[in-house]
Amino acid sequence: MSQEILKVKDLGVNFYLEDRVIPAVDGVSFSLSKGETLGIVGESGCGKSVTVLSIMRLLQSPPAKIVKGEIWFKGENLLSKSEEEMRKIRGNDISMIFQEPMTALNPVFNIGNQMSEVIMQHQNLSKKDALDKAVEMLKLVQIPSPDRLIKQYPHQLSGGMRQRVMIAMALACNPELLIADEPTTALDVTVEAQILELINELKEKLGSAIIIISHDLGVVAEIADKVAVMYSGRIVEYADVYSIFNNPKHPYTRGLLEAIPDIDINKKQRLKEIRGVVPAPDEIKEGCRFKTRCDFAKGDCFVEEPPFAEVGLSLVRCWNYL
């Protein structure tokens, strides 16, 4: 396929707490080409946010520490960059959209100031040109009367507007990689639809690669080309979006899809549950991490962790396919 711009290899992140070490991400690998969208799904605590924060090198250390792996971005290993070099990359080559735009925007600066600061930092423009660029970006994300909006403060905007501003800001320097961590979770469905539509359009227009994290499988189905399903710090299934939704393999992926009451469901029928609760990442020492909740767990599953193996078009971590 086309140019690969990001490659994550065997990433491992530990959190060092007072009394224990938590392996939040353990052996995660994936790659992304230009113009491609990767969806990462999984439940809270599975390590999806930690994974992308590692790419941005935004994890707070301590307690977090990247203990193994490599992150290659356009042929350079981000893990060997200095903080100074990273600052040039962030917001310029790689930028990020967060779930709660209110906490990501500075409440005491107006939108124009915040946006032009980013643009001035990275693109050597004068304040006036930077402001023009900001207005242009706000137009791109379909904000009505952007000239007025740049004089407003974040609290004066609605949630959907704030998220548009975040997206405009993230795209201001034409990043080659855009990371969106639950970008629509805090929004209403009608606004979510607007934002997803916008991201899809911009993807075509700008050709950036996108990583989108979501716990909502519907959002991922709508927007991703490839999907990684994470569970307890590991990717358990990795495939193109059609294989994931039409032919899910890992019992966890299947469970997730069946647990959602979809349109076709017979109402007399009980929802399929995944029994038990998500284990803490340090709870399971041996065997498959999903074994405590899996209906298909057998001998091997309790002894040794399954390898990440190719099954048809997918990569799956499950003994049932070996």
Partner: protein, 323 residues
């Protein structure tokens, strides 16, 4: 089947701006004339976007907020102006479950103590009996006896929601108001709690007012569904009738934007332009007209009434009024 709850012309205004002399000048019209009923054993879903007034409706029905206007009939009794003491007897039969199970449990009390307190408040004097009933309740919601002595922080989100459900059931309610009961939970846990709520409904004959923004969940659990927009119900119908035949332009748009769980077969989506107007100053006439592509002059002049269109289906829209 009779009506367990009937709400007539319910209004709840919150003062927004005060004049120099402290008199409220502007009001947020969070709930602005809502009518509906729930039958015994029925599940009514209440959907809408944030700020549409669905939670305020739930809270006002429970009398956690005092209504500005309107009537609330619970089991035929007018509880609109009940005082605290009178309400206590109402709460034996009407309970609620909130979204955030952590915020609704006392962190300093064990689960057992939390449940026993409910029995004590409602006059069960014998301590051993209280404990026994608490144990039964925990079992009913899928927890174990040894969980009695644990504190809320020792449970996961799903387990805490089970405790909250157990507490709501402690008084043998007939109607439970559920405000986003599964929204804070992970997908795999969500299914467990929905199944539990549906089992309990069958076993105990409960009626639910199920408030949620998650349309997939609402479709699964509800018998009828009401759609709210800016403080008013714009459409109410039996669940399948509503989902297969939405009539109001807002409901149509709302239902069309739920992301499908299949890639590549995107349905035609009706993406609404603009945002929900400010409830302090709702648009004249029909409240949805500012975002509605069918809006005519009539819509800005006259507010449509909610009218039946057959099959137990009611719509507030001029498009259907002439028929």
């Amino acid at each position: 089947m009779g009506k367990i709850l009937e709400v007539k012309n319910l209004k709840k205004y919150f003062p927004a701006k005060k004049s120099f002399f402290g008199r409220a000048q502007e009001y947020v019209k969070a709930v602005d004339g809502v009518d509906f009923h729930i039958d015994y054993g029925e599940v009514l879903g209440l959907v809408g976007e944030s700020g549409c007034g669905k939670s305020t409706t739930g809270r006002t029905v429970l009398r956690l907020l005092d209504p500005t206007e309107g009537t609330i009939l619970f089991e035929g009794q007018d509880i609109t102006h009940f005082n605290k003491k009178q309400l206590k007897s109402v709460y034996k039969h009407m309970q609620l479950i909130f979204q955030d199970p952590f915020a609704s449990l006392n962190p300093r009390k064990t689960i057992g103590a939390t449940l026993e307190e409910v029995f004590l408040v409602h006059g069960m004097k014998d301590r051993a009996e209280r404990r026994e009933r608490a144990r039964e309740l925990l079992e009913m919601v899928g927890l174990r006896e040894r969980d009695m002595d644990k504190y809320p922080h020792e449970f996961s989100g799903g387990q805490r929601q089970r405790v909250v459900i157990a507490r709501a059931l402690a008084v043998n309610p007939k109607l439970v108001i559920c405000d986003e009961p599964v929204s804070a939970l992970d997908v795999s846990i969500q299914a467990q709690i929905i199944n539990l709520m549906m089992d309990l409904r069958e076993r105990l004959g409960l009626a639910y007012l199920f408030i949620s923004h998650d349309l997939r969940v609402v479709r699964y659990v509800s018998d009828r569904v009401a759609v709210m927009y800016l403080g008013k119900i714009v459409e109410i119908a039996p669940v399948e009738e509503l989902f297969q035949n939405p009539a109001h332009p807002y409901s149509k748009a709302l239902l069309s934007v739920v992301p499908a769980l299949k890639p590549g077969n995107r349905r035609e989506r009706l993406v609404l332009k603009g945002e929900v107007p400010n409830p302090v100053n709702p648009p004249s006439g029909c409240r949805f007209r500012t975002r509605c592509k069918y809006a005519t002059r009539k819509c800005s002049e006259i507010e449509p009434e909610i009218k039946p269109v057959g099959n137990g289906h009611f719509v507030r829209c001029h498009l259907y009024n002439s028929a």
